[in-house]
Chain length 383, copies 2
């Protein structure tokens, strides 16, 4: 029996471990958080700090192959594991690109993939160029940061000037930053690619809406024309090939007018791919599982003619009932188009924390989305 090591035990790790279990595999899960959901569903939980080299080695020894559910792995892990690089799917080289925003953008630009204008801010001397950089813009930290953490949006010269002292302080702390042009968004979307020994399988494009930089909803099919959908999928495939990915690559795109820009790469399953669990015969987790277990992948097909919509459930959706935070499960008794409600088993429904998600279907994307939002609202409202 194969044992797959998963770095990170959040919901993405949990759903991956479920797909793996359905193919007869065992898992080992490394996550410093004792309460990480996946720890409860594996016989080999490693709830230790990422600095614990001995535990990392045990985890490695147990694993026939290793993957990760988030790309911001500390350097300590990567250096400990570098000698076992061959176990990683996708490779540590892919991870190195994806976990550094600047390296990622440079890679994309060098390979002539469409990215918005950006500027590296690595040292004090770069500030002059930054003061010339077009507005509005976003300034992001190069490492770490997700769901909009570590981002600053600058709309005016006054805002830029006000931000300079903080920027300088961050540079002095050794942080690297990147400024990127803020463009008019027509659409945010993602495309998930599975790549196995040079064979690429892409999922159709998903249409995403973010709120406060956190994924809020995903809809399938997207409103892209057939040609644009094919173009985006081809682009995602080409990027996966340029990185020589063995595993999954999620590519987030912007559509601005008729122009497509690559926003971010994530070499792992993605929250925007949740509805692939219900809408397709092979989910993103199934595809990755096959690659990890050396089982041939295949094209993934919609399971129905209907449209699907996913709505994230943040801690904000919970309300107080006596001394506990809760959702109103009575909402499930009458939920038109209900497909699935998933709760991740996280203890504390903190604001902006991803606690679960739900999926509804409908005759059109609009109907599916309407139903998903209505159900989320009903879950968030006391009877």
């Amino acid at each position: 029996m194969k044992v797959v090591g998963i770095l990170g035990g959040g919901q993405l790790g949990l759903f991956l471990s479920q797909s793996l279990a359905r193919l007869g595999a065992a898992t080992a899960v490394f996550d410093p958080d004792l309460e990480a959901p996946t720890h409860r569903h594996t016989a080999a939980a490693f709830p230790y700090p990422f600095t614990d080299q001995e535990k990392l080695r045990q985890f490695e020894d147990l694993s026939d192959v290793i993957t990760y559910e988030f790309e911001h792995l500390p350097v300590s892990v990567l250096s400990t594991m570098a000698e076992h690089e061959s176990l990683f799917r996708p490779s540590l080289k892919v991870l190195a690109v994806a976990q550094d925003r600047l390296m990622e953008k440079c890679f994309l630009r060098d390979k002539h993939f469409p990215v918005v204008d950006f500027l590296a801010i690595e040292k004090k001397e770069d500030l002059a160029a930054f003061e010339q950089f077009g507005l509005p813009c976003l300034v992001k930290t190069v490492r770490g940061g997700y769901d909009g953490k570590g981002q600053k949006r600058l709309k005016s010269e006054a805002e830029r000037q006000a931000f300079l002292p903080e920027l300088l302080a961050r540079l002095e702390r050794g942080e690297t930053m990147v400024a990127e042009k803020l463009i008019d968004l027509s659409l945010e979307m993602s495309c998930i690619v599975a790549r196995q020994k040079g064979r690429c399988v892409t999922m159709p494009v998903f249409e995403n809406v973010h709120k406060d930089s956190i994924l809020d909803t995903t809809v399938f099919p997207s409103s892209l024309s057939r040609e644009l959908d094919a173009g985006v999928r081809k682009l995602a495939c080409d990027i996966a090939a340029a990185l020589d990915v063995e595993g999954l690559l999620t590519v987030e795109f912007f559509l601005s007018g008729q122009d497509i820009f690559v926003n971010e790469l994530a070499p792992r399953p993605h929250n925007s791919g949740h509805l692939s669990m219900q809408a397709f015969n092979l989910s993103q987790f199934d595809l990755l599982s096959r690659i990890l277990l050396d089982i041939p992948i295949a094209d993934c097909e919609p399971i129905s003619e209907q449209a699907f919509a996913m709505a994230n459930i943040l801690g904000d959706c919970y309300y107080r009932d006596g001394d506990r935070s809760t959702l109103n499960m009575k909402a499930l008794e009458q939920a038109p188009g209900f497909v699935e409600l998933l709760l991740y088993g996280k203890q504390e429904p903190r604001k902006a924390r991803k606690m679960g998600h739900l999926v509804c279907r409908g005759a059109t994307p609009a109907e599916a989305l309407h139903r998903a939002l209505a159900l989320r609202k009903a879950l968030s409202s006391p009877s």
Copy 2:
């Protein structure tokens, strides 16, 4: 967080634990088999004999609610657990009826549910009546025995006479037997009922084919008329109500001409319900999970207009490749109508052992079944 105790860690326990995990719950799994698949996917595995009272008590203490994935639990377990009867879904009373074929048949007959003629053979004096019992008939052990184990089919008077010494020996060992009339089968089918606080949700009827008394294929939708489908579902509901089930009840039926007979009851998820994982928005495991976690159940709906077929993969499907037994995974590259392949992670592909199953879909039940059988054949054939 709720902890659900599951007695039995086979594939049914595994899929149940996955549904529970998707609702944020934790599991504890008791199964004497160290290699039971579900042990690998829980943080609370109890791989101890069912006679280990201390471990059973620990398991009980950990569990907020207890269910079981097979009904032939040893009396030792039940007597140890009787004081915590209130934790059980379904109740131990339901289990007592379902784990004793004679009690089950008497219950059904007393409540006027249709069962084929049967005769209890409990003591030597019953042999005279048995010699008068109509032929052909089946003689079954009353306790234990599944997949046709412990059954004897008698077609002629000569066979009956030849069987008498064995029957006598079994009675003397203290076994109880039941003889039942063998009827001409038009169809075998099953209906899964979820019952929560008096509310019944039934799945549509599944059409099953057994080979050598082991479930071979399941197809949905069945070939029953709409009226018969409704009739069978009503009957299944009424039986669940008569038993006051809180949880799942699978009712296996025979159709003989236009007559319906109840064959067996299983107060748990059932292998014939596997395709509910792919074909419906709520699977049998999802419904049971909701009941165990006190979340309202809802009607389950087909996820598509298409037909679905499940084919079991027994150890017999594996072939030797060098020193290992294997399936030909290349078959997955081109598999029309593929929906899912599940492998249970059992180590030894023994003859007649359930190792996995696959699900295909098609425009008609016949097409779905044809595809499922073709894929199974391809998996069983070296390239």
